[in-house]
């Protein structure tokens, strides 16, 4: 979870904006801020909380009018007051947000703020999305101290670390401990949504009852998998050559109605491709595998012909090396021939899924057994 970013605007400003895609953290930060700004012993009279959830543009305009009225109303008993526009959902790039009533309404609010609201009135705005292309955002930036609480970017390396620290902190507060690998699994399964993470911790806490230690099996059995978690878990099982886990996951997901073609293309093929690419590279070249940086540098140092096929980042700035680096260790469990065959088997499975009426689960199960079963397994 990335630390909150704050704009350079004056900290002494009476206008505070808390934004970010992480709804739970935005809400928590806004609540704490409002509590801090509320004059002591002022009670509820010092707070003017306006719910910013608008069903339509007209309602958005009405909410803005209410905010202006609140800002222009003197505090009740002559003290200070806080006006909190809470969870404004009409500032983003949405149908309601683009409507004239919403745009004009918010600009009117900004006009009032720019005109000055007096030192005894403080304004707090919390929202999960705001359209940064609009002039309103730039005007807001000049007026307010903006605090941003975004969800971690799961496409970037190391996002789990920050989320894990947060999860670990919450778990400690509950008196929960986790077996090795269980907390990592929880973070991967819950994904980047802190609210879901908290909810899953609550479930685990309730399930354990008097027991205070959660194992991997508990996490697997109880935590609902996010979409990213599904992909990560199946990929993990393939990388670890854990056929049992892969089949178990497949059974659960197919039974829950997940599309097998989607599972193949989103979860299985990318993993097999990464394994094949990295195995091939390691076979033909010497690459640093001790750390991600060493791997990336050695990959960059290879001649262009050797890396022409390696996937690149969308902006074209370099190799998308992280999935390959993650596959380095896993690739030791497969031979190059096995991975060639695996990639071909993925193609066959895809063809079977889209051109035959075979049971999709059977096709994927057959694929997984072919990929992951030891090559020379003989039970007899």
């Amino acid at each position: 979870m990335p630390p909150p970013r704050k704009s350079a605007a004056t900290a002494a400003s009476n206008v505070h904006v808390i934004l970010g895609t992480d709804e739970a953290r935005v809400k928590e930060a806004a609540l704490k801020l409002v509590q801090r700004l509320t004059p002591p012993d002022a009670g509820d009279f010092a707070n003017d909380v306006i719910d910013g959830t608008a069903d339509n543009a007209e309602m958005a305009g009405q909410i803005c009018n209410n905010v202006i009225q609140a800002l222009q109303t003197l505090p009740f008993f002559g003290g200070a007051k806080v006006v909190w526009l809470k969870n404004a959902n009409f500032l983003g790039d949405s149908v309601t947000g683009r409507a004239q009533a919403a745009v004009t309404g918010f600009e009117n609010v900004l006009d009032v703020l720019e005109g000055g609201i007096g030192s005894d009135v403080k304004f707090v705005l919390s929202a999960t999305s705001i359209d940064k292309r609009r002039s309103a955002y730039k005007r807001l930036g000049k007026l307010a101290a903006i605090e941003v609480h975004d969800k971690p970017d799961t496409s970037k390396a190391g996002w789990e670390e920050a989320v894990m620290m947060q999860a670990s902190k919450w778990a400690r507060e509950r008196g929960l401990t986790f077996e090795t690998g269980a907390l990592e699994l929880l973070v991967q399964m819950a994904g980047d949504d802190t609210r879901q993470l908290e909810s899953e911790l609550e479930k685990i806490d309730l399930y354990l009852g008097e027991r205070r230690r959660a194992g991997v099996a508990t996490v697997r059995g109880l935590v609902s998998m996010s979409r990213a978690g599904v992909i990560w878990e199946i990929g993990n099982a393939i990388g670890a050559r854990d056929l049992k886990r892969a089949l178990e996951l497949l059974g659960i997901l197919v039974y829950q109605g997940q599309n097998p073609v989607g599972l193949l293309l989103a979860a299985i093929v990318p993993k097999v491709r990464s394994l094949l690419l990295v195995k091939d590279l390691l076979t033909r070249h010497k690459l640093g595998t001790g750390s991600y940086n060493a791997f990336n540098i050695s990959l960059e140092a290879l001649p262009a012909a050797a890396t022409a096929h390696v996937p690149r980042k969308k902006d074209g700035t370099g190799f998308n090396a992280y999935p390959l680096f993650l596959a380095v260790h896993d690739s030791t469990r497969f031979t190059l021939d096995e991975l060639h065959a695996a990639f071909r088997a993925c193609l066959d499975a895809n063809a079977k899924l889209v051109t035959t009426q075979l049971d999709p689960k059977l096709v994927i199960e057959r694929l997984l057994v072919g990929l992951l079963a030891p090559a020379k397994k003989r039970v007899a």
Binding site: D55, D193, E202, S224
Partner: protein, 608 residues
Amino acid sequence: MSYQVFARKYRPQTFADVLGQDHVVRTLRNAIAQNRLAHAYLFVGPRGTGKTSTARIFAKALCCKEGPSVDFDPNDELCQEIAEGRSLDVLEIDGASNNGVEQVRDLREKAIYAPARCRFKIYYIDEVHMLSAAAFNALLKTLEEPPPHVKFIFATTEANKILPTIISRCQRFDLRRIPNTIIAKHLLHIAALEKVNLDEKAAYAIAKGADGGMRDAQSMLDQLVAFCGGEIHEENVLEIFGFTAAEAVAALAQCILSQDTVGALRAVHDQNEAGKDLARYLADLIQHFRTLLVQQADPEAAAEDLSPEVAQQVVAQARMATTEQLLRVVDGLGEVDARMRWAGNKRLHFELGVIQAVQSMGEVSLSDVIEALDRGSSSGGAGTPVAAKRTVVPMQQPAPVVRTAPSAQQAPAAQVARPVVKEEPPAVSREMVSSKVPDHPEKSDEPGQSVAAPQSVESSALWSALTHEVEAKRPLLAHWVHMGAQMEHKPGLLRVGFPKSEAHACESLKREDTRKFLEGLLGIIAGAPTRLELVVDSSLVAPPQPEPMLSFEPPAAAPKPAAKTPEPTAAATVATEPSGDPDFYNDPLIKATIEAFKARPISAKPSA
């Protein structure tokens, strides 16, 4: 009182009655016991897994007298109202028909009022994924911070259709598929209460057909009672629902695994004569082979849904074949399944598929042969592994066509489509790879005998002599050894160079066991312990070799097999094209064989 179907009559009334969802029940019980209730719950799961039942039980536990209590009395008046769906405070809403924003606004407006009789006002919205996006958004605010007396319970079969903002505001529980064993036991329990004599096998057959849904299973039992009365046997279940007995499927699989073509064909015939749907029978057979595969990987998972008798058969059958063989059978049967869908004569395709499956069980894969060769040659060339394994060569002639029901008298097992069995080592002899040693004094499989004359080799030909030995002892290493060229020989050290393009051969030979093998041979040939130094030398040029691997690099121009080293004594410079009919080597089969075995043609002899 009017008749109630089993699914309603035996709907779980307390937490203890909920089957197969222990993780959900335990969490909910603890939440009630510790009074740590969330304001919104989301139950996700396929049909018949207990979403509505769990929601009602949870509502009863919250609203019962002197509650919230885990051990509530289901006969309590409030609980009865909730169970019958007539409580004023527990509102069951069908999300599919109340999916608009107007209905949600209406709900929002009424939610603020206190409950009439119960402690909480509970909104249970079934099929919540059917709500429109606007309706979800209208619900968000209330769902975020509902009045203290309001609890929401949502149920859905398709969680992926619900907005993430809704999911994150709920405590989500994923209800799992109920294992067949639990369903079967519950059916037996119901049958006992209903005074119906239900066969255990029949219970398993119903459970299998219900595919993890308890309600489906109970409905099927209801139907059977209506049809059969007080006695229900497996045959009744199979007959009414068109299922095939698990034993029949296991028996057919047994015939295939034991390569009993006649038995397999007879099984198909019997099922066909009994009026079974062959497509379904085939699907069950494929599923059975899938279970065997899973049994090899995870015995617990495989046994979960099987009756004890079939589970035992599965354990035994999984030992009868390798994973590869099972995969081949599944692939073959899968193709038959695809063909059968559009075929007029399904039985013909089924029978052909079964015969192919029997034959594929007898085939030896190329990897088996290579492994056996490798093992055989490394252990002195006795070639025992494959010989011990019975090399089975599939018949060249097509299998006899069985036109009518096969019987033991008509087609004895030994005659019908029995693969020809050879009890001798594989025909892939070392002639193919090692007969190119005319000057070899004598070839013996024993390393000690074959290189009995130390110091008989000239210093400059040391590597060449070693190459011959390797061809004889470890043919699969020969390909790599041929890439090397002797660079230097000093007492106790032989330095061998490899072209840059063949660095992989160098690396492969450097492996611990391979190096030891080579140094052992070298010591015998040279007459003294000699260390082998393998290096990549860019001045060497490799001979052209077929490259079967997928390469991402563009193919290099074929280099001439000439080393630039002053003393090219090695096989890197040896001409590899044998004399003879060039058409022979252009034959696709020969080419494929050379590529598959990574072999080099040395000589061609007419077969005897």
